[in-house]
């Protein structure tokens, strides 16, 4: 077990690591969560789609390992079969969940250092949906559990992350032991995973935190893009919007935590990230997000 406190002058990292990690470059996840009985709040087409989005969210920050997905898995889940199953059930391999909302197993070899299996089982006796924002109350009372944020947390364990707050670290992280209103990966979560599996060179400089990944749709002509940059390596953060040309740069405010209210044009706005460093005025970060304005 390892907890890390960053030594940089402006940023303190609190992520904690389990003792094990994957030695393969692909972690194959067999998704068998099935379809939901009604529409999910965040628009995900199915439980599998929500979980797949959580996996993709982790993927975008990792250089040396990637989750790959087998959708609608027909594999019969079994414990100890070296297959990573993700599914709902009313028991955990035949045993009552008790207080558990979700359980992820950690199978290892080589003195506990190498991961060989990680099944995640969600407790189907509880009320679930997939949504963003603050935790909600279920119609019958109690918590309406958000599969997406619990999946982000559990898949963080699958990668090898532990709870930073269990080690006295006070950081904002979805990997903290209390899962509440934080619904997305935080810089500390990302740095922790990158410490295990590396990041592309530019991702060590800066990355987006809003939108998290892929594409977001808005009805407003402006969208506030947010992210994080390494304050030691980065002086300024800039963004481009394809709809305004690739040579027009919009300067974000802040560095460690940066943001920019970006103007949009109707349609598909491809937003790219650049940073200036002490040695280069414009370094393109290997990441982009798409903000769709209007229909």
């Amino acid at each position: 077990m390892f907890a890390f406190v960053g030594a940089t002058t402006a940023a303190t990292w609190g992520y904690a690591l389990l003792d094990s990690k994957w030695s393969t470059r692909q972690i194959v996840m067999y998704l068998g969560l099935g379809s939901s009985s009604g529409a999910l709040i965040d628009g995900a087409a199915s439980w599998d789609a929500s979980a797949e989005d959580a996996l993709a969210t982790w993927n975008q920050y990792l250089a040396n390992v990637q989750f790959t997905v087998v959708r609608n898995s027909s594999v019969t889940p079994a414990d100890g079969d070296d297959v990573n199953n993700v599914f709902f059930d009313n028991t955990f391999y035949g045993s009552d969940f008790g207080d558990a909302v979700a359980i992820t197993t950690e199978w290892t070899r080589n003195g506990g250092r190498t991961r060989i299996e990680a099944d995640t089982v969600f407790n189907s006796n509880l009320s679930w949906n997939s949504y963003r924002g603050n935790l909600r109350t279920a119609s019958g009372g109690g918590t309406l559990y958000d599969l997406h944020r619990v999946a982000l947390h559990e898949f963080g364990h699958t990668l090898g992350l532990d709870h930073p707050d269990d080690y006295g670290q006070v950081v904002r992280a979805i990997m903290n032991s209390h899962v509440s209103n934080i619904d997305s990966l935080q810089p500390d979560d990302i740095r922790g995973a990158q410490s295990l599996y590396g990041a592309t060179n530019t991702q060590t400089l800066a990355f987006f935190t809003r939108p998290r990944a892929g594409q977001v749709t808005t009805s407003s002509a402006r969208y506030t893009v947010r992210g994080h940059a390494d304050p030691v390596q980065v002086n300024k953060v800039f963004l481009t919007n394809s709809r305004f040309g690739t040579r027009r740069f919009f300067k974000a405010t802040g560095v460690d935590t940066w943001k920019l209210s970006l103007p949009l044009q109707p349609g598909r706005n491809v937003v790219r990230l650049y940073v200036s460093t002490p040695t280069a005025s414009r370094v393109k970060v290997a990441q982009r997000v798409i903000v769709r304005f209007g229909n």
């Binding site: 079994a78 100890g80 035949g94 558990a100 359980i103 950690e106 559990e154």
Partner: protein, 186 residues
């Protein structure tokens, strides 16, 4: 001899991959059928063939030393999922950890087929340390020991907050009083 046999879990270390419902101290007491202090006499780990795969199972046998709620006598056997067999190890976050000769206060569920037979998982298994104080000191793990919880607010009251300790006589007195108060509630 009362013997409980529970299926599932144990984790040898503080692995972290379980998310729990947030429960209060009173709920933890209410959900426990038996609360007792006992000494771990034997810890056995083996791989089992079941209809759900081949999990590693650890069986722990306790001699009850004091019973605060319910009944317990003879050897109490609890079975947990997880452990280490050869070079293969299976961990489930939040599982309590036991050592032969160790003394623990356990909040045991009524359900004999639970993933974790201890209510509150690692929070329902408190180590009693007699090295620093012969009267005994009840210690909660400095870590929550691997389990996360989901809820708008963190638990406002734990039986013993993570990382803290209490003298055994004081803890027992408070626990018994709380059990008595809860028992009087309609």
């Amino acid at each position: 001899m009362i013997r409980w046999c529970f299926f599932l879990l144990l984790v040898a270390a503080t692995a972290s991959a379980t998310t729990l419902q947030s429960i209060t101290e009173d709920e933890q007491i209410q959900r426990a059928q038996t609360i007792f202090r006992g000494r771990a006499e034997q810890v056995d780990t083996a791989r089992e063939a079941t209809s759900h795969g081949n999990p590693i199972v650890t069986t722990v046998r306790f001699t009850p030393l004091a019973v605060y709620k319910g009944t317990a006598s003879g050897l109490v056997t609890l079975r947990f999922l997880g452990g280490k067999v050869g070079d293969v190890e299976m961990k489930v976050g939040g599982m309590p950890q036991f050592h032969v000769g160790g003394e623990y206060i356990l909040f045991v569920s009524a359900d004999g087929n639970r993933v974790c037979p201890v209510v509150g998982w690692s929070e329902g298994s408190l180590k009693v340390d007699r090295q620093t104080n012969s009267a005994g000191e009840v210690k909660a793990s400095p870590e929550v020991a691997g389990a996360a919880e989901v809820g708008v607010q963190p638990r406002s009251r734990h039986v013993l907050p993570a990382g803290t300790s209490a003298l055994l006589p004081d803890f027992e007195r408070r626990l018994k009083a709380r059990i008595s108060e809860i028992g009087k509630q309609p």
